[in-house]
């Protein structure tokens, strides 16, 4: 695919972002090919969503529908949700159980590993019709993706060859991953799905940009959950594609810095204090928001934990699929705490609704002005880990890697 001459990344490099990347159909198609179908590990499921043989989950990698299935041996397989015969998307339920996979159209039947095991009328009817004698079902199974399961989290890839998962995450990201997924059994608390009318990259930019949090999110600031002067840091892997915003409780004092936070309302107090009574659960940090290339955000905001999976729906929209979870050994109090704090997140979240609203406004600003250019100079013009959050360094890291993959 050729990139139009007009599509030259600005000379200032990653301190700038050209707005055509958010709306150009050619760029979008190239992203599907190189990023989502390329050598990347995409999040598809939590293993606990499909605990028994035959359990399946329907999901997407990029725009492509896939199914995650547990087979009779207990192994997890991921294959395309597309019949090998005529392309029917056979699985139409978010979650379910089936002994075998049967396409509703001509009833081609597959086992739970994706092998074609049944073709009705293969030998014809009354000696008429039927498949050619040399038709071999072995050649017509479902396309199976590479799969990796780490501590109960399932990733898959369309690429035939790619780095082992641990190398893909890199040491520092793996450590953060294992902090939440430490081998304990996960318990799904529920789902939330929203269609955000913005380019998928704006979601990553949002979670890779810690400096907006103390400005946009009046709620967070007002109730002391996140402040620009909290001890915090930004961390990335060696490529810049993954990132994490980390903060923890320190001693904040009211300073002049607050004058910059339109947000700050000294007088706010929740009427229902129970909603926000976080307890220390993990070592060191109170908030870790991890972004994993190409489709996952792992949210640990105090005691509310969630996977946020990005599913692009054209250049101007994406689905954000939230899976809120806790641990099977949570006591009733912790479970309730997680459900209460979930009010911060999701489509109605005290915090995250600000983000979905602002992403729509972003799209409405960048799409009509594809030739305009955004500025990302907070905290410098390059990217590296930082011991603070007054920076756009993690977004710059993301675009450094993005440009390499996209050859832009």
């Amino acid at each position: 695919m050729e990139v139009r001459q007009a599509h030259q990344w600005p000379a200032q490099g990653i301190a700038r972002v050209p707005f055509w990347i958010y709306s150009d159909p050619g760029i979008y198609a190239l992203e599907q090919e190189r990023i989502f179908c390329g050598p990347s590990w995409s999040y598809v499921a939590l293993a606990v969503e499909i605990p028994r043989p035959g359990d399946f989950k329907r999901t997407f990698i990029g725009e492509k529908p896939v199914v995650v299935v547990r087979d009779a041996d207990g192994a997890i397989n991921v294959f395309e949700n597309r019949c090998a015969h005529r392309g029917v998307q056979f699985c139409r339920k978010h979650l379910g159980n089936a002994a075998e996979i049967v396409c509703p159209y001509h009833q081609w039947t597959y086992d739970l590993k994706g092998n074609l095991i049944g073709v009705p009328f293969r030998r014809g009817v009354k000696k008429q019709g039927g498949m050619p004698a040399d038709f071999d079902p072995k050649d017509h199974g479902l396309r199976v993706l590479k799969t990796h399961v780490r501590n109960g989290v399932v990733f898959a890839s369309f690429a035939a060859a790619l780095e082992p998962f641990a190398d893909y995450l890199g040491e520092s990201m793996l450590k953060l991953f294992d902090r939440v997924f430490d081998g304990r059994e996960i318990e799904v608390l529920g789902y939330s799905r929203q269609l955000i009318p913005a380019n998928w990259k704006l979601m990553f930019e949002n979670i890779k940009d810690p400096y907006h949090a103390s400005l946009l999110h009046v709620f967070l600031v007002s109730f002391g959950l996140f402040r620009a002067d909290s001890p915090s840091k930004c961390q990335m892997d060696a490529t810049g594609r993954h990132g994490a915003l980390i903060s923890w409780k320190g001693e904040e004092k009211r300073t002049d810095d607050h004058a910059d936070m339109r947000a700050f309302h000294d007088g706010f107090k929740l009427s229902d204090q129970k909603m926000l009574q976080p307890v220390r659960e993990f070592p060191e940090y109170t908030v870790v928001m991890t972004t994993l290339w190409p489709n996952l955000i792992i949210q640990q905001q105090s005691n509310t934990l969630a996977m946020r999976q990005l599913v692009p729906r054209g250049p101007s929209a994406f689905e954000l699929a939230w899976t809120f979870f806790g641990y099977a050994d949570d006591d009733a109090e912790m479970r309730t705490r997680r459900l209460r704090q979930a009010n911060l997140m999701g489509p109605a979240g005290y915090v995250s609704a600000d983000d979905s609203e602002v992403m729509k406004l972003s799209q409405e600003g960048v799409q009509p002005y594809p030739d305009a250019i955004g500025v990302m100079e907070m905290g410098g013009r390059d990217w590296h880990d930082e011991p603070h959050i007054v920076t756009e360094t993690v977004i710059r890291g993301f675009y450094d890697y993005y440009r390499k993959v996209m050859e832009l």
Binding site: H94, S192, L270, S271, D272, L339, P347, S356
Partner: protein
Amino acid sequence: MAAAERYLQMNARELRLELEERYAAYSACLDEERFEDWPAFFTDDCIYKIIPRENVERGLPLATWFCEGRAGLLDRVVAIRKTMMYAPRYVRRLVTGLRIVGWEGETLAVRANYLALETLLDEPTRIFNCGEYRDRLAVVGGELRFREKLCVFDSLLVPNSVIFPL
């Protein structure tokens, strides 16, 4: 108690009329964005949830919006007025198919379908959220108030954000 007695003794037709009035007042309060008046429709110990139907069907507890007690409702009102950033919108709620399930002691179980239409700038009005109210009402201060209101919604893929109550 006397007030509860009055409702308990109503025949189905009278009770339905009372409820229709009540639900119409509730919708009007929200449609007109009189959010400060919203908590008064609930009892002090109420539960209010907007919850995806798929979670209810799977027995999963997560709600999209979860308020406990009138205090929880008040916090949402403060957020709508003071803390949350959102584009201007109109939301209009249509409530229909009201069904009286019956009294459980002094609590009245009611179900109704609702449809919430959302109008944003530069966009035609769209269906925002469609679902079923699963409510329990109690008589407090001489009137029926929601002790529990569950908005169980079919519209699993939420168009962007839920800012106002349903």
